[in-house]
Amino acid sequence: MPAHLVNDPFEVVDDMLAGVLAANAGRVALTEGGRGVYALDASPRRRTAVIVGGGSGHEPAFLGWVGPGFADGAAVGNVFASPSADPAVELAHALRRPDGVLFLFGNYEGDVMNFAMAGALLADEGTQTRTVLITDDIASGPADAAHRRRGVAGGVIVTKVVGALADTGAGLADVEAMARHVNARTRTIGLALSSCHLATAPRPTFDLPEGQADFGIGVHGEAGLRRQDLGSADQTADALVDALLDDLGPADAGSRGAVVINTFGATPLAEAFVVLARVHRRLSAAGMDVAYADAGAYLTSLQMAGLSVTVSLLDEETEPLYAAPGRPLLLPPLVGSR
């Protein structure tokens, strides 16, 4: 049973935000309800607000994805729980972008409903919003029903590209179209070596015997596709890459791609790089030109052990945006921001 460094476990999110604010004085602010984080140093050219968000427990997601070249703001929920409509509405008010607001978040029912309510409230005031759901987790639905897939670490790539486009002064329709384009070309699959555990819960979220891995795990403990013996880093990387290549199809594998190895919380960076080396070799051997590869914690699942592999296909439109400089609040190196 993991130990926790908390005061009141039900206050952990607000206590965390106090720390984030102290660490970034002058760069970020909170909305009046205390659950909307927004950048004070965004590009003055921005006309469209890009608002991300979701439950806490995934840090540095989603508030760490805020900053120049990334999102304008993040709506912060309780641990593994959607934020209410309020922070998204307050962020739109605080940001006052003339072209309206893009909501960009993972495909989870609670988030979908709360952002939809925020959209309805903003529409009543005359503010235009659009929503793009991140659906990169290939384990959570078949390729022909990709709209049912959940959003996981690939959201950081979508946010990076969309944020760079918004920095050029692009309008809402273009920003929305780019978000859909990148999301459709981004695939992730993950694997857990241990369960996550909430400070407010008596037990771990799921049981996983030692030496076993949950292949296709979600980022809130949602069961994966199968349980398997853990195996070596290379065997694990091979299984993850096989699943991704299967989903991408042979034609897509021949293009330029970006790779993100995302650790879920407890897995050391060294092991992530061990996996990155094999993933890079395997994708290259399959004909992909791996133009960018990064490893680190981009979207965690509390202290779960394991990692995910994200592959995003680039084209002449998206690659310069992905490679553009950025300054996210809290992110490990990602191309363009390192």
Binding site: G77, N78, A81, A85, E109, M117
Partner: protein
């Protein structure tokens, strides 16, 4: 019979109290397939509502709108379902100082439709709709058939309890319970239980026995619907 702001205020306050009283029942319904916090979330949501009622409530529409905004702040799934329901009820009653049976029917149907829209769900998916829709439709049909508002309210109450009871044998198609439907089997959907409690507070205040019986033994619901406690007069609303 019509209702105005003071009756709606009294209803919201009474419902907040009853949710707190029965929080453990609602939490335990949610413990199988959900995360066991439905009752706690409803109580937190109505605490937010209780903070805004009584201050400058205005028309029924203005009070419903403020309550919807306040409740939605609780987030989760239930925040937008009830929040949008109250907001749409506010929209369709705008400008009216007293609501007659037809206006209440419109508000109930609009609220159920709003929950369906935002939850992208249909009756039968084992969501709040399975109590909210039949109750709104029964109330509306009763008003359309020429019944007075109190007879229509009784019809709505019966339909809410019957609808909630029927969820015990449904398979969840949406919401957290859909991830592992077996864990929810045999229990009343917690969201429906809250809707049925709201109807109880509105129509049969002080008489929660049929609601408790329904929640505890949903499969024993008599074919003719919930029975009223004999000789137990309803206290006047408010």
């Amino acid at each position: 019979m019509t209702i105005g702001t003071s009756e709606i205020r009294a209803f919201l306050e009474a419902l907040g109290g009853k949710l707190a009283e029965h929080q453990d029942v609602l939490d335990s319904l949610d413990a199988g397939a959900g995360d066991g916090d439905h009752g706690a979330t409803m109580v937190m949501g109505f605490r937010r509502v209780q903070r805004i009622v009584g201050q400058d409530d205005g028309t029924p529409s203005q009070l419903l709108k403020a309550a919807g905004r306040a409740f939605a702040g609780v987030g989760g799934s239930i925040g937008p379902l009830w929040g949008m329901g109250l907001l749409r009820a506010a929209q369709v009653t705008e400008g009216q100082s007293r609501l007659d049976g037809r206006a209440v029917a419109r508000a109930l149907l609009a609220a159920a439709q709003a929950a369906a829209d935002i939850g992208r769900a249909r009756p039968g998916d084992r969501t709040v709709l399975d109590a909210a829709v039949p109750a709104a439709e029964a109330f509306s049909a009763s008003v359309d058939g020429g019944s007075d508002a109190s007879a229509a309210a009784l019809a709505g109450w019966r339909a809410a309890l019957e609808g909630a009871a029927a969820t015990a044998v449904m398979t969840a198609a949406r919401g957290r319970a859909s991830r592992n439907p077996a864990l929810a089997a045999g229990r009343v959907d917690p969201g429906c239980a809250s809707v049925a409690l709201a109807w109880t507070v509105a129509v049969r205040p002080g008489d929660e026995r049929p609601w408790l019986d329904m929640v505890k033994n949903p499969n024993d619901m008599p074919a003719e619907g919930p029975t009223l406690a004999p000789g137990r007069p309803s206290p006047p609303p408010g």
